[in-house]
Amino acid sequence: MKGISNTLRTLRYAALVGIQDFRAAYTWRTWLSGWLVRVLAQVVFFAFVGSLLRSHERTYYLLIGNTTMLASISALLVISWTTWERRAGTLSLLIAAPTSALPVLLGRSVQWVVDGALISSIAFYGVGLLFRLPMRWPNVLLVAPLLVVVAATTYMFGAFLAALVLQRIGVRNLAFNITYLAMMSICGVNVPVTFLPGWLQTLANLLPLTHGLNAIRALLSGSPVAAVVGSLGMEVGVGLGWLTLAILVFGVTLEKTRMDGSLEFAD
């Protein structure tokens, strides 16, 4: 019981560190005029493709896909932000400490889940209104909680990638960019997953975002509750699977570096 309490306390402090990092990078003014404008422009960019294709249906499809994608993009920043612990030189201290470093590494980028849920919700309701996206009432109110789920599950996947990148921090930005573009390509954001070759459909079904996006589309199209809940359950299951892998890989990496003291000498 005490162990759980300690872990939760460490997670809380890790999250507070993450929030302070975030506040050091952004003020409200720069977040609104910089980051938010950029991500809204991304949604608008893809929504206009629907206009180019002269199809309201495509516009709405792209709009929903790309607003949901924003939740994943933010959450994937866990890949690069986790490496800050090593770049700041504090990871060695964490490894040497009697408490596990795992909760710190898993919790110190959680601010991006909040950011992802927030910007994707603003984009969905704001840009959605701009492009006259049909908003089925009251289903539309449930989109925001679903975006939180997508951000959280993608964070779990991102944590797995962060564990892999921790020993190769030079590729952190590359890993982030390639991952988010790959997800944007195959997870049903811009074209349905069923349009892709079979092996890519399999891969897409193993990634977060795919099922969460299905749940959001089902919700907005008025599909039966079972369809929404089913997709949501798949999304959560996929996320927890990646979280388990993240914990395993972080554990192996931290144990190895504790034994041979190699982390500071890694790439």
């Binding site: 910089g34 980051w35 991500v39 206009f48 573009l181 944007m184 349009f195």
Partner: protein, 255 residues
């Protein structure tokens, strides 16, 4: 000319050693596949050219923003800015040469798009007016380098501006008509697109792919060059101001 070439050589060696410098080129195949899937799914094969040009323009802009824009800041962080400023060569010339090198490397995206579209989809970019196409590409490269010169100066002169570095991507992809022509944007946005050289470049590049005659080529190329040269002059002046201020205050390391 010798300092220019030496600076180009330096940048090539630096970029070959920094993974992030070539990261943009690693994203080009993904953009290409994604855009091609979008037009194929919609059954609009007439828009293949749009889908193939967009990744090239995105790559060129991203290289300008994230690689060229960082050049002066990186030199400052590596503490070589002081040495550069005491050499007799004009500092803006060195920066411009390095930016030009980065921008020309960015043109590698064009080859990537050709290879990926051929290998994955069995399609190729059909250029009906190669003269116009390559002339526009050359003008675009110059304008891109000029714009990057402004960015490299501003990111150092105004530290607060760096937070907006990442924000200058998608808004300019929209205003520059990189994938969707600016004619599809709301009418109130169109006047702004006229001062974004990318909008002239993307329209002219797309037109050069079509079999119908391309209209007003000298004027449109002139607009790209005019906006590009204007950016170049402004960037040059800003960098000179940076040098003068840093020398005068003795704050090069903190410029």
């Amino acid at each position: 000319m010798r300092p220019f070439l030496a600076a180009c050589q330096l940048q090539l060696r630096l970029s070959a050693r920094i993974p992030d410098d070539l990261m943009v080129l690693a994203t080009v195949p993904l953009y290409t596949v994604m855009f091609l899937w979008m037009v194929k799914y919609a059954g609009r094969l007439d828009l293949l050219g749009y889908a193939l040009l967009a990744p090239v323009l995105i790559a060129l802009w991203a290289m300008a923003l994230f690689v060229s824009g960082e050049i002066v800041e990186r030199d400052r962080a590596a503490q070589v800015l002081e040495s550069l400023l005491v050499t007799p060569t004009a500092f803006p010339l060195v920066v411009f040469a390095r930016i030009t090198t980065v921008t020309v490397c960015g043109l590698g995206a064009f080859l990537e798009v050709l290879v990926v579209s051929r290998l994955v989809f069995g399609v190729t970019l059909s250029i009906r007016h190669p003269g116009v196409f390559f002339l526009t590409l050359a003008a675009t490269t110059l304008a891109m380098a000029g714009t990057a010169l402004i960015m490299s100066a501003i990111f150092v002169l105004q530290r607060g501006a760096r937070i907006f570095q990442n924000s200058l991507s998608y808004p300019f992809y929209v205003l520059g008509g990189v994938l969707v022509p600016t004619a599809y944007l709301p009418s109130w946005l169109r006047p702004i697109t006229q001062v974004v050289f990318l909008s002239w470049a993307s329209d002219l590049l797309r037109d050069s792919l079509l079999s119908r005659p391309v209209g007003a080529v000298p004027f449109r190329v002139g607009m790209i060059l005019g906006l590009g040269v204007g950016s170049l002059v402004l960037g040059w002046l800003l960098l000179n101001r940076l040098v003068t201020r840093a020398r005068g205050l003795g704050t090069v390391a903190m410029a």
